[in-house]
């Protein structure tokens, strides 16, 4: 069923892959983990038991990317990225699931996004499970888990000296073709590790009925309460692995049309040319962020737009905690709708 990758072979494996793939893996940037290109010679930073600070969605939807180059005469040349096949190594289950969720937004039947598609189609995701989840993680609450497999081609479980590799797709099988099968004892050990980890994560809030609570409390005073502390910066949305909003702008000096991540937390996000702003204060903006993830996503694709990675909780400079916010909504009586 599973295979064995001795940790000491990892470098060799990565450099073998590097011949035909571009590889991205977490490495140390300043003092935190960050996805960067590697050919196997760099020191990886995956043993620390938490996530990269910057979400790997940027490998599929870069923070800034050129959509097209244009000339003075109105002709535009699209700039669809071309690259070798890619491997993202060491992605955590929450982030891999987030990429899968982004597929639903960008690889649509009508108007599929060619830029995202070009990157996504060429990329294999090799994930690694979390043996010791952080207290800010809540993946199990939102239909994922520390060893969730959604979106991955293979999932690694860290067992001291070896990784137990569970291949999940044909691509995954090909990549790990030469590695031996795991013994039953190793399988059992991995299972124990996984279950121990699972037990460490407490459910953060109830998701059943949450959407109805949010929908019926659109005008609730709680939104103002949360917005009071909110600074209005873009940390929660930029570091979120599922937030995908973008802005399209022309960089006249480079003669390029670009798209940049945008965030509903900024005033300019919904500001119209007439200076009318449908979301004039932090209250509406905070509400938009939470509603989008826990209500509108469900309307659109019947999935919660959150994978419980906990980044917005960990890095919010004012300690606004989406888990606490949602719990407060859950505690509201159903009948005080629109209070």
């Amino acid at each position: 069923m599973s295979q064995i990758l001795p940790k000491k072979n990892l470098k060799q494996l990565l450099s073998n892959w590097a011949a035909s793939y571009e590889i991205y893996a977490p490495q140390q940037l300043e003092k935190f983990a960050h996805f960067m290109p590697t050919n196997g010679s760099e020191l990886l930073y995956i043993d620390e038991q938490h996530n990269t600070r910057f979400p790997p969605k940027a490998l599929f939807l870069p923070q800034s990317e050129t959509l097209m180059k244009y000339t003075r005469f109105g002709a535009a040349q699209e700039t669809i990225p071309e690259s070798k096949p890619r491997i993202v190594f060491g992605i955590r289950p929450c982030d891999a699931k987030a990429v899968d969720l982004l597929n639903l937004m960008f690889l649509t039947e009508k108007d599929s996004d060619p830029y995202y598609q070009a990157r996504r189609k060429k990329t294999a995701l090799i994930g690694i499970g979390c043996n010791i989840p952080c207290p800010s993680c809540f993946c199990t609450t939102v239909e994922s888990g520390p060893f969730g497999r959604q979106g991955m081609d293979a999932l690694l479980t860290d067992l001291e000296d070896i990784y137990l590799v569970r291949t999940l797709t044909q691509t995954g099988k090909t990549l790990f073709a030469e590695y031996p099968e795991a013994t039953e004892a190793q399988e059992a050990e991995a299972k124990a590790v996984q279950q121990r980890s699972l037990k460490l994560i407490d459910p953060a809030f109830e998701t059943k009925g949450l959407k109805a609570k949010l929908d019926s409390n659109f005008e609730n005073a709680l939104w103002q309460k949360f917005a009071d502390s909110c600074l209005g910066c873009g940390i929660c949305t930029f570091l979120c692995p599922t937030c995908f909003c973008f802005d399209i702008a022309d960089e006249a000096q480079r003669k390029e049309r670009v798209r940049n991540w945008d965030t509903c937390m900024f005033r300019t996000y919904s500001l119209e040319a007439s200076q009318h702003n449908p979301r004039p204060t932090r209250r509406e903006r905070t509400r938009q962020r939470v509603m989008h993830k826990f209500s509108y996503w469900l309307d659109h694709v019947n999935k919660i737009g959150c994978t419980g990675c906990g980044r917005c909780v960990r890095y919010c400079p004012v300690g606004l905690d989406i888990r606490a916010m949602l719990r407060e909504f859950n505690q509201l009586e159903a009948e005080v709708a629109n209070g």
Partner: protein, 317 residues
């Protein structure tokens, strides 16, 4: 609840009960141990969540420009927050008589970056004693000297005591050593241009343009920031080097003579970008060129607003 916290709670409760303030801005406990949440108390019965410790990272003065001038605001202030309030009063962002400050001499803030980078994300609680920080995990506890975890701005803090608080609780701390405070920026200035530039690039390159530094800063209260300005557009919209460097240069320069060295910008940054080496340089120049230190009183205009003909001799002839 610590001794200081109970004294503060009593004081705040009195203010709210006597209706001396409309809102009291302080901190309350949040789920994450590293980030107590700014809270806005209007009734004394809300004070159950009140918390005040070295992890209260934000400069609460940043919330003042959100209120109309007539709002009577109460605040717990440390030295830097007191100076920020002073300067906001200079810039007419609020009326001094409508702000009630409870001053607390500051022990220095524990930097969450330092904590996380050193002890990982798995901490479930962080407590403090006089000189020690206790970090609890699920299965163990670690102690670390406070001094090693203080934020850089606090390590070089010169004025930890509130200067013009209406009430001060706690014992005054000795003033910091100005020369010691300047060693860092002096050392940076002593590097050659290429080295300084390399450092600047390295820091600015990590920027994700979330503008947390701007939003956390009490002096960044403009309704429309220059980066949001559409016609003309001042900087590139992308995370290209041009855009990110322009942001860091101009953000810092707009603080010239207005920065109180609280370091809130740096603490808010999710990418560990150093920024105070820029603002400290400006502060240093303001001190040497114009003998100005921001926020020391609520009257003196900053140098860029206070030019006059005395500058005559500064023109190279």
């Amino acid at each position: 609840m610590t001794d200081l916290e109970s004294k503060l709670t009593a004081e705040i409760a009195n203010l709210l009960d006597d209706k001396k303030v409309d809102v009291f801005i302080a901190f309350k406990k949040a789920e994450s141990p590293l980030h107590p949440q700014p809270a806005f108390f209007t009734e004394s019965n809300q004070l159950g969540d009140f918390v005040y410790n070295s992890l209260c990272q934000n400069n609460l003065a940043a919330f003042i420009p959100r209120y109309p001038l007539s709002a009577r605001i109460g605040m717990v202030v440390r030295g830097c927050e007191n100076r920020a309030v002073n300067h906001l009063v200079v810039e007419k962002q609020h009326a001094r008589e409508n702000i009630f400050m409870i001053g607390v001499p500051c022990e220095g803030l524990v930097d969450w970056h330092k904590l996380v980078n050193r002890f990982g994300e798995e901490m479930i609680a962080v407590d403090e004693a006089k000189d020690e920080i206790m970090i609890s995990y699920r299965d163990r506890q670690i102690r670390a000297p406070r001094q090693e975890l203080l934020h850089d701005s606090c390590l070089r803090c010169v004025h930890p005591n509130p200067l013009s608080a209406d009430v001060t609780i706690g014992e005054l701390k000795p003033e910091g050593d100005p020369t010691l405070a300047r060693t860092e920026v002096a050392a940076f200035s002593a590097l050659d241009n290429a080295a300084r530039h390399a450092w600047f690039r390295k820091e600015a390159e990590r920027c994700i343009r979330c503008y947390a530094c701007r939003e956390a800063c009490p002096m960044c209260y403009c309704t429309e920031c220059f980066v949001d300005h559409g016609v003309p557009r001042w900087t590139e919209s992308t995370v290209s080097p041009a855009g990110m460097r322009a942001w860091h240069i101009v953000r810092a320069f707009h603080q010239a003579g207005r920065c109180v060295s609280c370091g809130a910008c740096e603490r808010a940054c999710p990418m560990d970008i150093k920024m105070t080496y820029l603002t400290e340089k400006l502060n240093e120049d303001m001190r040497t060129k114009y003998q100005f230190e921001c926020g020391m009183d609520d009257k003196t205009q900053p140098p860029f607003a206070a030019f006059n003909l005395d500058d005559k001799n500064r023109f190279e002839l």
